[in-house]
């Protein structure tokens, strides 16, 4: 009996030893490759620092062209409201319709304000006058925002100059006072929203590409056969292959969270433990997928194409840049199979809203299921015989 349990302990010890040896080999290989080190450990963070500022739907500094055909004191006042609003930058003035279109086509203006002749006279006599706004709507979203800005400016102008002349005294215009507030991020700061998501993408990129190229590289240079003839077992080999990238992935996440905290001052309302719990499951999904890609391909080139294909899909369908809610229904359903979507969602909710384990149980369960499926497939596909 004693001998039996001893032999089990012996087996476990030997197995752990083998895994440790493979681990050591992998780490040696990673750190020996001087060309790769900056790519793994520096490039992601430079991107995080730079790109987090780029992702903003704010519309600012709109180039603005003015056509004041009336040249009266009122038209000048209206034009002044536009230039003084802070949203628009006056880039030129002209007096013919053709010129306005040319300015729009040449990107020297995204908004043209046309104040027609007799603007002031109409306003004084009939109490109403029209102005034309030519808006560059290539980007429909920004065009909507620009229209919103102009609406505000004109409403302010009307109020200040008492247009329309006050409604006959005595009638009370009912008013609903709206108190607006945005929770969790009252200043509507975009970087707080983007940094957690971009961090997820970077961790995924590194994890997926490194694990995706790893086994196939050994295939290409032939060293896989050398490992195949050793008594190393399948699970030992795979554990030894994945563990280093899992550790690197968590390390990158830690550095990224530090940058989020210290540089971007992203709040952390939830718990770091929860983030790490989810991340450790999530990395299994990513690494399992990389390994699966690696086992079904023959060359690093093929592996990269497939990894790239999924990476682009995962990134654009993750709700990171455009809201999931605005996708058509079939696309929304597809995103349920996208692990990146769930991790981005969880990161944002835990960091910005302080969601707890119960709140994120559903996406976490989906991630767990993904991890199980991916790892099972990858282990199953990996054979110790070369084709």
């Amino acid at each position: 009996m004693n001998g039996f349990s001893n032999s089990i302990a012996e087996n476990v010890r030997r197995s752990i030893n083998i895994i440790l040896v493979i681990l050591q080999k992998e780490f040696l290989q990673i750190f020996r490759n001087r060309g790769m080190l900056p790519i793994i450990f520096i490039m992601p963070f430079i991107q995080l620092l730079i790109l987090s500022n780029a992702a903003t739907f704010d519309v600012k500094n709109v180039p603005f062209h003015l056509q004041d055909l009336d040249r009266s004191s009122l038209s000048a006042k209206l034009a002044e409201r536009f230039t003084g609003s802070g949203y628009f930058m006056l880039t030129g003035e002209s007096f013919t319709g053709d010129q306005a279109i040319r300015e729009l086509v040449a990107r020297r203006a995204d908004l043209v304000l046309v104040i027609p002749r007799d603007f002031e006279r109409d306003l004084m006599t009939s109490g109403s006058a029209a102005v034309q706004l030519l808006i560059n709507a290539e980007d429909g979203f920004s065009a909507g925002v620009i229209q919103g800005y102009t609406g505000q400016i004109i409403a302010d102008f009307n109020r200040e100059h008492q247009f329309p002349p006050q409604v006959a005294a005595g009638t009370v215009v009912p008013e609903i006072r709206i108190k607006s507030s945005a929770w969790y991020n009252p200043e509507l700061n975009y970087t707080h929203y983007m940094v957690p998501g971009i961090l997820v993408i970077l961790v995924t990129l590194i994890g997926l590409f490194l694990s995706g190229m790893n086994v196939v590289r050994e295939k290409e240079i032939g060293t896989i056969d050398q490992i195949n003839v050793t008594p190393v077992k399948r699970y030992q080999f795979i554990t030894g292959k994945l563990l280093p990238f899992w550790i690197i992935g968590l390390g990158e996440l830690t550095l990224g969270l530090l940058i989020a905290r210290l540089v971007f001052h992203v709040p952390m309302l939830g718990s770091y433990w929860l983030i790490y719990l989810v991340a450790s499951v999530y990395l299994l999904v990513v690494l399992g997928m990389g390994l699966l890609i690696s086992t079904v391909t023959e060359t690093q080139q093929q592996a990269m194409f497939i990894a790239w294909f999924f990476m682009v899909i995962f990134t654009l369908m993750s709700g990171l840049f455009t809201a999931i809610e605005s996708m058509p229904h079939w696309a929304q359903t597809l995103t349920l199979f996208n692990p990146v979507r769930h991790f981005v969602d969880i990161m944002r909710r835990v960091m910005l809203k302080g969601s707890g384990l119960a709140d994120i149980a559903r996406p976490l369960l989906i991630l767990l299921a993904c991890a199980a499926v991916m790892l099972a497939l990858a282990v199953n596909r990996y054979r110790k015989v070369s084709a």
Partner: protein, 367 residues
Amino acid sequence: MTSFRAFVLKEFYHIFRDRRTAVILFGMPVLQLLLFGFAIRNEISEVKLGICDLSHDHVTRAITGKLLSTATFVARINLQSPLEIGPAFASGEINEAVVFEPGFAARLQRDGAADMQVITDGSDPNVSRIVNGYTASVIQDYLREQSGDAPPAGVVAVPVMLFNPELRSVYLFVPGLMALILMLVSALMTSISITREKESGTMEVLLVSSLRPAEIILGKVVPYMLLAFINVLTILALAFLVFGVPCRGSVVLLILESLLFIVTALSLGIFISTITDSQQAAMMISLGGLLLPTILLSGFIFPVASMPLPLQVFSNIIPAKWYLIIVRAIMLKGAGFSYFWQETLVLVFMTVILMTASVRKFSERLQ
């Protein structure tokens, strides 16, 4: 010249010998354009609205009904007290909560004013801002209906949405996807092809052959240029036929500019391969290094003009930014060459610099 031709042929064989890669090369861009063209939108819809009605009268019911009748809001969730708002936000059940004060209709009648609260989930600033605006305009509409439509007075703006009157985001995203797909496919393909020769040692064979460095590089570019060109044609055909993106300018010009962009991307790939030693490093740089910057800094989704100034300056080195300006000008604005010769020149300039640098690097190895 014959040795050069043989070299180009060899490259072709390399590409097509590997069926799987060939299928991926042609199929992937098509699949991606189709998927994203349909799925990626930035119109906000289906906002989940939570209603906390402490008054339950005809006015609050009317306003609630009006909010839910727009396409923007769905899934009314009734909240019994404002205390339920927090948990509903945390679990992601709602994006916006509206609170009516008790006795809403009565106060509106008696005092001429009533209070309501609109709370949005600021963790998504974009949705938050827009949803807030929608809510306010729905309530303005309600009040206007109640008071009877008055004739317009004061300054009235007549907006004209040029180039894209229906404000369709497909018009914005399809050109962006073209740039993204072409950039990554081209840079990836060439960066791999040269580093592979380095890794497998066949580069030494090429270097001692009668081919000059410039010829080797050209020989690498030509086959991939043809491949990418086929990709351009399929992508453009899809853009017109499936997504109905108009081409108001010259199609020939559009194709020529796309070719130029491909050459720029290919030379970027070649440059990457000359500064790296392994396929791994080359791929990590051309994918890991290009994916996010191309999405974020090209104006694909986020307007460049709104970014902080240093980023606007930095975005100038992203080739996709210039290509995107050109493509949108041709397709949507129907502009002629005189409107974007400067952008074209920038792409030419980038290509020349990258090519020269690559040939230099190459010649160095020879000595």
